[in-house]
């Protein structure tokens, strides 16, 4: 198994407190990996460190062999790693198509300067990009809304648009931050299907942070469990389900979760 993403000994302190302590794991090409843990376990911090929003205090993160810890998010995207967000998933006032065009920014074969002078090549490049984005919307069932402002879409559609924006960057590794948070069971199931579908047809590797156990257990090949900023378990869904430390960690916070 060739590792696409290697997280090695990553710690992150806020003030004097460790939000992450010496966390290591890897994601292999073609895998769907779940990152789970109770509230405050450090999942989001971990996610932010990998995607470049936060710099780790110590440790390294490698993507396709490149050291990416501390790089800007935009540079990391350029390498082929894209993410979604939990809360602010879309550009609300722009149209759905424009949202995806923005997501495709790094993959649009047009230099900004060329587009400023509106050269023929720039127009052609933008047209090609637009076509690709339109296909992507088609694929995710969002095509009928392409000219609507994203903020006016139903919530479930907005979450899906968030995935579309990330996909528009043509990532090899797609990181999803609680993709089904706030969705109803039906929408959640649909999102689960979509992820699996994307994984199969687009050959995209997925790292998933999620609360929703059924989704994680259902689609992930492998699961990493964090608690209090430390990795407490890693393994196949079946192993995790019966892991004592995991059960304890979750029981301890059951009522909150």
């Amino acid at each position: 198994m060739s590792a696409l993403l290697e997280v090695d000994g990553v710690s992150r302190r806020f003030g004097g407190l460790y939000a992450l302590r010496d966390v290591s794991f890897s994601v292999g090409e073609g895998e769907i990996v779940g990152l789970i843990g109770p509230n405050g376990a450090g999942k989001t911090t971990c996610f932010n460190v990998v995607s470049g929003t936060l710099a780790p205090s110590t440790g390294t993160v490698r993507f396709k062999g490149h050291q990416i810890a501390g790089l800007k998010p935009s540079a990391i995207v350029a390498l082929g790693l894209a993410r979604t967000f939990q809360a602010t998933t879309v550009f609300p006032t722009a149209t759905v198509l424009e949202n995806v065009m923005r997501g495709a920014f790094a993959r649009t074969p047009v230099s900004p300067l060329a587009s400023l002078f509106n050269t023929g090549a720039a127009r052609a490049g933008l047209a090609a990009s637009e076509e690709r984005c339109a296909r992507l919307l088609e694929r995710l069932g969002l095509a009928p809304f392409r000219h609507q402002p994203a903020g006016e879409l139903p919530y479930g559609h907005q979450r899906r648009l968030g995935v579309a924006i990330a996909l528009a960057a043509q990532p090899q590794l797609l990181m999803l931050d609680e993709p089904v948070a706030g969705l109803n069971p039906e929408e959640s199931a649909e999102m689960g299907r979509l992820i699996r579908d994307l994984h199969e047809t687009e050959k995209v590797t997925v790292l998933l942070v999620e609360h929703h156990m059924r989704l994680v257990m259902g689609i992930c090949h492998r699961i990493v469990v964090l608690d209090h900023g430390e990795k407490i378990a890693e393994g196949l869904p079946a192993e995790i389900r019966s892991d004592r430390s995991v059960i304890e960690a979750y029981l301890g916070t059951e009522e909150e979760a």
Partner: protein, 336 residues
């Protein structure tokens, strides 16, 4: 007011979305431009020409501020860049006999460079810190202009700045300067419109709307914020130089914090979303103080009240009135 009829195209929001109305808009813009060009022939009152000139210059200041605002940054030091440009060109003309046109270009480049360096250094300082830093930058410029007496002549300011001349033809008079200001205005308008419709504009809007998501879409927010800040400030610097050659005088008082606030007010009142908004704001608010020239306190109160009311009741500014009306008359027909 006899302000130039300005092309009202170019919301620049979505490339291609304007395709349907292109011809009507182009014709309208052309007509407006012709009307603006003919203005001096109909207006003999020199005071109105003076106001038209000020309105054009203010429109340039406001549009360039709007560019910075388009990336989600509020600059409280816009006038400081105008002052920097004004001093550079004025000093160049007075000491080096630099032709004003060259001086203006040099001012624009120099202030853009300063802004780029400042922006690069203060990369981390987004949002509120950016506001405070631009504010302090304004203070620094005023302090330097005041205290670097040997160069800036201190509070006395620089007197006897030559007027702009093009091919040996002096543009000292108001009507002649008007054509220069109009040309500069149209140039800046076209440049900014192209910018906002290009991939730059796409990046700017993404950053303004959701900076985290923009970053994660591969848009280097810091880079584009610096670009917008440098271009916006560079234009302000050049326009400041133009102003210096027009009023032929510059002192630390010419461009202060109050001017920065005035530009913000024009931008907000006209509408932050579009270039047209900035132009409307300048066209509307430049003559407004004249209503109460003898009673400035009242004038300021109205200015402030207009600013706050527009923010609350008409967040899109004057420019959005048209959209609102259009929306109502179209009766909810889906957008093209």
């Amino acid at each position: 007011m006899h302000d130039p009829r300005l092309p009202t195209t170019g919301s620049g929001r979505l490339p291609g979305s304007a395709a349907g109305r292109t011809w009507a808009v182009r014709l309208g813009a052309l007509a407006a431009l012709l009307a603006a060009a003919a203005l001096p022939h109909f207006v003999s009152n020199q005071f109105y020409m003076h106001m038209a000139n000020l309105a054009l210059l203010n429109a340039i200041f406001t549009m360039s501020l709007g560019l910075i605002a388009a990336v989600g940054q509020l600059s409280l030091g816009h006038a400081a860049f105008a002052a920097t440009g004004a001093y550079i060109s004025a000093l160049g003309a007075l000491h080096l006999k630099l032709p004003p046109l060259l001086g203006i270009a040099a001012s624009g480049l120099a202030t853009a460079l300063v802004a780029a360096i400042l922006g690069k250094i203060l990369l981390r300082l987004r949002g509120v810190y950016f506001v405070l830093v631009t504010f302090l930058a304004g203070q620094v410029v005023t302090l330097v202009a005041l205290n670097w007496e040997s160069v800036t002549r201190g509070a006395n300011g620089l007197v006897g700045i030559p007027p702009i001349s093009v091919l040996g033809y002096s543009l000292g008079a108001r009507a002649q300067f008007y054509y220069f200001a109009l040309a500069a205005f149209v140039g800046v308008f076209i440049l900014l419109r192209a910018l906002m419709r290009s991939q730059y504009g796409r990046a700017f809007r993404s950053i303004a709307e959701n900076i985290e998501l923009a970053e994660s879409s591969g848009i280097d927010a810091s880079r584009y914020q610096v670009i917008a800040f440098a271009i916006g400030s560079g234009i302000a610097g050049a326009a400041g130089a133009v102003m210096a050659h027009y009023i032929r005088y510059v002192s630390p008082d010419t461009f202060t914090f109050h001017e920065s606030v005035a530009y913000i007010t024009m931008l907000v009142v006209g509408g932050r979303q579009t270039l047209t908004g900035a132009v409307l704001g300048a066209a509307f608010l430049t003559p407004l103080p004249e209503l109460l020239r003898g009673f400035v306190s009242m004038q300021h109160i109205i200015y402030g009240a207009v600013l706050v009311s527009v923010l609350i009741f008409l967040p899109g500014g004057l420019a959005s009135i048209g959209h609102r009306i259009a929306k109502m008359t179209r009766g909810g027909r889906p957008r093209p």
